[in-house]
Subunit: 235 residues, 6 copies
């Protein structure tokens, strides 16, 4: 099976990291690549960035259809452009945000998300995002770690330290039983953090990749009842 | 006060109709224009259309900021690009969908929406849309009237007849107390339908215009806590 | 247009203040007066006060119908007698509580309310009130400032100081993006507090007045499906 | 123990029937009376009636406190004035609507209510009422039987027939497992209807009476955290 | 009337205490006994214990049917095996958890539960339990007191002290107006704690007993729509 | 990886069919077996059956731990004993009901379930089940096909015909976009029904198997915060 991962931003280093993580976890019979759109914002930090990133994502979906890919993963935690992408094809399209939440639901009662940026700034944005999928009863909290995206890599030990701190609060104060890493910058920290916290820590890219393999293995496709192109665009 | 209405699609006849309706209901001291983006889809019939329409909407917001408009209305019932537009400015930005729902909440217990397209195709898409604003407890139903956007104008009496039929079902079967006309093509039918149905029938463009005048009069602006540009884009 | 504001309590100084605020924000073509019922409690601090205030409110609605007013505003944050008043007339009747919440929903993701009295005493009463309108997904918190209604005016700077303190907690701890001033005693503090907090601060009386003007301009009335007098009372 | 039942309307025949039913089901050591307020509407058919009935209900509560009653039951299915009555005393006050719903929850998964008046007129009013208590997940439906309050008694067999018909629909179409009789006019029909429908049928007056006996036996009182008189009224 | 209480665990001292409490609160015409299953876990501290306890509970229900008991109470706060027991008989079966919540709803706006074990460990398990009955809107919190079941009795004054401490937090921080004692080990502490906290404190065994007497007095039975044995087991 | 599927009932033919389906869809490096408990009910048709089946399921989990299996699947649509099984081990345990719902959520907006038995009998039982996982916003309906478990096999073409009929109603009337086959007896009908209905049709056993492979590949385990044995049972 051939899976195309689309990183909605144009930060190519991030795209490479996503590909590296994906290849490390793909099955031997899975071919996976990660790309960025040719044009668009180099980070997705809000609705404005999202809006400008989506057309490029859709271009990559279209190219991917022509190139015969079997499934598509949208590799931004906010699932940028997911529903629009589903309109374009009956090949499965999975967002890493939704995939990580659904996996978490089968491993524990409630999940929390760790993201960059200060706490008060993101909690309710994420709550709204979770609500979009109807998963609010399983949502414990979203916690920002107060680091800019660029700061994350500078001192990876410090980053891990802060993740541990906020993750512990998520467990003890918010009732989280599973932790989601809501930023590609946190990739490859899942195992270490899991060891520190003692609860499952999920890298959303890997969750989406494994669920995509599962869905493709079973041969399921996107339902085309409401996810579809309008008649006037079909020809 | 100066209000700019942005019709997210490029169907200019629709834009003119929106402007005509708006001018007819604007206060004497309100200056209002309606525009379409230069590029983009000529209809918004799903997430794919929405995604391609948003960048053009944002361009019009930016131009409108430069031109000194006081407030912006997004004139598609699905509030295309609303949150991204709010990221760009602290001037109020209102979607016609949300405005019509909030007005309906002050006139009756529950509202239904009438839209083109067959019923089974839209109910749950709209339910999801209503849920985004947390108004599901006030939502009675969304009903399609089974006409294409272009068919609506062909025989306006027939359109009115079908609207009356589905509106009656919304009231008697779904529990609606207020009816929202979810398509610019239904503009100028609100009064006639209201007479037929005996309950308030709201044209969302007018609802948004009147609420925008109200908000501008009071001098309120968009909260910039979570609706804002990321730091890296500010300069 | 002619709007009658009914302050459900008989504290005439408060009624005058409400009228002063309303006149200051009314359009030039809006005639607005504020009255209190002839009899009833001089403050509304709970369900018992509410119950005794409602008959007087309804008397004022009846008089207002005879006097040809176009719309009615109920000027108590708990919307005392709102549904009963709607039973009496198809002229629009708006509560200042609901109006301020609906306006807040178009300016930010979540709102908090600031009220007199200690915190633990009001949070859940207000939550129940918000739930009545189905707006709980947009509700961040209700915070009391621990001052009696009479203390508010004694040292207006101290009052402002405490409002700022609790408003800041509402933003940082509860996730509020818009603040509602839930007491007529806070009137004329909205602009000052807005400057301090940096988020929209809404005076509910003004929100209701502006929305009433909007609804009257558009010619909408209350739906009479469930808000109506029983047959036996109609003659 | 001495229990005072207050029928919020002044229809004395109804009050007698309530008393007769209550006495028939009271324990031998329970003294129970039913009264109507001296003044007020002779039927409660909406918010307007409710508003005018409440002051009389509160007068009866006050008299009942002086007369040393141990508990109070408000005998209108919409629990007219319940929260205001609780403000007045720490003696338990129970509404027959809430009591019947709580009893139903311990006998089956979901309940429906049968009331006079046509279906489309009451469903959502009742849904709102159920929501006030947070019981919407247990609510199957409210069904009107299309008879005026006075018609109910005219042909009791016909009334029973219609109740059976609508009750059957509630079970088969709405998923009800327990039926609540939402009108004092239906009193003394519970056993017959139960035999016809094969599911528990609850007379709310009896449910409230038995739960009041239970609560008094155990010595529990109303919590005075939020149900209480304001300081200024206590002396 | 004859009521059989089944303590799902085999800790006979606890069963005796339950019986003692029940007999102390039963009416003179109520015969009540408490039993434990012959086999099964000696404590219910999670889903595993629950699963192993249920078959024994069902055996006791069967024996109780043969012995002609009129109603059954399941005396574990998590209502162990309640729905399975209801499948077996149309005699009413009440769980002490549900009974205490329904009683609390008629005494105050929101309730909290006090249980053994640390706070972070139980909050969300209990939230899930409350959600099963659809009562989440009335649920303030579940608080653990950090004592093992065996420690509770060792120093009853210390236990009371901690209950008071956590109960106070439940009231002031979580918004509780009624407190439920979620452990048989807390039996006979309700009155003392009530005096300390100033809000109703409910012993769930007593709540269930009094509600069972109420339901039996009224002659109501379990609805057999969905609570019933499959056809293949009926003969 | 080695996966053990536990069919909670003792109907061995069903167990064989489950194993056959699982082996047909397992990856080449997956070893999968299906077993039934030694003792227990031969069908799970309600809470009573469930209660008696769980102890046998837990025995099989324990044996499976000793035998070194990597993950466990509970192959009853109601996820019989799932939480108790999770208490026993940190190896992932997945219910086929939850797995099929989570897969459906990534393929369409709402799902319906087709099950044996008449419609009015199961809708609300299933709604309660869905609510346990917090997925009610994604749930369209549960529809019974009115066949006994044994009748399903008798005339497989007729079964398919009825499934098609009810599935069509689920799509057109209830708003389903994905169909779940809620009975092992429907195994091997998924592809045929999918062709007829034109929307994804999910066999829950396969969904659970593929998700288990995904989770094991990634090395995730069950969170042991609340799913765990009590201290007294650990040694």
């Amino acid at each position: 099976m051939r899976i195309k991962i689309i990183n909605p931003n144009t930060h190519l280093e991030g795209t490479k990291r996503i590909e590296r993580v994906a290849k490390a976890h793909a099955r031997s019979d899975t071919e996976v690549i990660a790309v960025s759109p040719e044009k668009g914002p180099d980070a997705i930090e809000g609705s404005y960035d999202e809006a400008l990133a989506v057309p490029g994502v859709l271009e990559e979906i279209k190219k991917g259809i022509e190139d015969g890919y079997d499934g598509f993963i949208i590799a931004c935690f906010l699932d940028t452009g997911l529903y629009a992408a589903r309109d374009l094809t009956d090949k499965p399209v999975i967002g890493i945000g939704e995939a990580s939440m659904h996996m978490a639901c089968m491993l524990g009662r409630r999940f929390s998300m760790l993201l960059p940026a200060p706490r008060w700034d993101i909690t309710y944005v994420l709550a709204e995002f979770v609500r979009r999928y109807g998963l609010e009863a399983r949502f414990a909290s979203a916690r920002g770690i107060g680091l800019g995206v660029l700061d994350i890599d500078k001192d990876i030990n410090k980053t891990l330290e802060i993740l541990k701190e906020e993750g512990t609060k998520a467990i003890l104060q918010d009732g989280a039983e599973v932790i989601l890493l809501g930023c590609a910058g946190f990739a490859e920290l899942d195992k270490k953090l899991e060891k520190e916290l003692g609860v499952p820590v999920i890298d959303p890219v890997i969750a989406a990749l494994k669920f995509m393999e599962a869905i493709l293995d079973y041969g399921k496709k996107t339902s085309k009842i409401s996810f579809r192109l309008p008649e006037r665009l079909k020809k």
